[in-house]
Symmetry: C2
Subunit: 283 residues, 2 copies
């Protein structure tokens, strides 16, 4: 079975032979960009509308907060004063929306290689893309590999909200790229990168952490449930030069963040870094 | 799309319109028992063999430890001296296998209504059913609703490893049944019941906890990832008359348990009780 929509169902099956199925409705947008196939479709499900890239699940209206709250608030709440944030990838805008909930933030740079993703999400996924026109947001439609090359001490937080390590996202999983991201961080800065499914993509996870550990003196992992990603379980790398995970919590911002979140709370935050044995072995 | 195997794929789609798909292989066993359709099939996937009941996913060789370690060790490690354990349902034997890792255990009663499930698992899922012939195990092929009625102060731990609240499992989700389970517990006893998917079956979860809270003075919830259940996320109810969760940890048994587990460790154990906001609201 091919990934994508066929006979009324969207399928995404991992190389391991299992995955997800969603009852599909009307296709709202489907075009080949310079980089990938960009598609938004309605579903006849609780998940609402779905964004796929090259027939791989990116996000759904119904469960997007699982991913976006985790990639954003876990690092943001561990930074004392995050003012400048870089989001790499993330053209749907969900990560930017969560980052802007932190009142300390003065500027968010969104560096997305594919302008078609941004345009499609603004039109068809407005609850996710709703903050992309915020005046604090600078949108750069360009390759983050080039953008990051000469940046020194610019960002408090860098969030790598990329696709999988194949296709346009491939260059975002290299030693050279990670080194450039490290150099772009200010003192006390944190990088978080999505790091695939520990259960369904264990080889990718293993490879990625080997690279990250070569570059960052501090490299930890946290995980959470994503209902529409293979295996329902996802990992993020928490990397820094000088910030150990769970050593600081921004209590002064907590109430504001908590009241807007469907997942995130302080206990849940702390619990994210407790990993199952099989994942510890991989890392 | 109907649940079950068609055109080479097994599908389980929730009423919410999304679910899982697995590349299916040879059907090894498929019969209608007095209670349900019992099926074991090979998959062409990392999941190995699969057991379904009425075309609903019960367990797979490839991910069964996610469920069985969580239903067993979370309560067992919070009991000072679990000697007698009752498992209701659980005919595949995975929960019994995990319970028997605790050296304190003298007797496990497995009360499974459908003998065909036990027989099929012994034949086709030997890595899961491997401890069902252990002399400490008493297997009762009977309705747990009847069995539990006159039991007083008999069990240290009761584990309800049931199917969903429809079909043969329905009577295991009632006030009367929970009251009888409560009465069957010894002082310091703990009941854990599988309590469905917080994301994909939120109405079932809400209803079940309302009932449990009427019966048990202490009723808490823990969750973990199950790759092959809808939404990839599962909840268990932790109920007791006198044991608050996370107030005791059996350090003396820990090393023995830890070395045999693919998921379970002490940090992960503690983190299970930190819940996302949307689930807290449901409870």
């Amino acid at each position: 079975m091919k990934n994508g929509i066929e006979n009324g169902y969207y399928h995404e099956i991992t190389p391991g032979g299992f995955g997800i199925a969603i009852k599909a409705g009307k296709i709202l947008f489907s075009k080949q960009s310079d980089f990938q196939k960009v598609e938004v479709f309605e579903t006849e499900s609780d998940l609402g509308r779905v964004l796929t890239l090259d027939d791989l699940m990116m996000t759904t209206e119904g469960d997007e907060y699982h991913y976006h709250e985790m990639i954003a608030h876990i690092p943001m709440m561990q930074h004392k004063n995050p003012e400048t944030v870089l989001v790499i990838g993330g053209g749907d805008g969900g990560t930017v929306r969560e980052v802007l909930k932190h009142k300390t933030v003065k500027k968010v740079v969104l560096c997305e290689i594919d302008g078609m993703v941004i345009d499609a999400c603004k039109e068809f996924l407005p609850t996710i893309a709703c903050e992309l026109d915020n005046p604090k947001v600078e949108i750069l439609v360009q390759d983050a590999i080039e953008y990051i090359k000469d940046k020194k001490d610019e960002f408090d937080i860098v969030l790598i909200d990329s696709t999988d390590p194949m296709g346009p996202g491939e260059g975002l999983f290299t030693d050279e790229f990670y080194t450039n991201v490290k150099n772009s961080l200010k003192k006390g800065g944190i990088m978080v990168a999505q790091s695939e499914s520990p259960f369904a993509q264990s080889q990718s996870v293993e490879k990625m952490y080997k690279q990250l550990k070569k570059v960052f003196p501090i490299c930890s992992t946290y995980t959470s449930n994503i209902p529409t990603y293979p295996g329902g379980y996802w990992a993020w790398a928490f990397c820094s030069v000088d910030v150990e995970p769970l050593t600081y919590f921004a209590q002064d911002r907590y109430e504001d963040i908590l009241k807007t979140c469907k997942i995130y709370n302080k206990d849940y935050h702390n619990a994210r870094f407790a990993l199952p044995n099989y994942l510890k072995k991989l890392l």
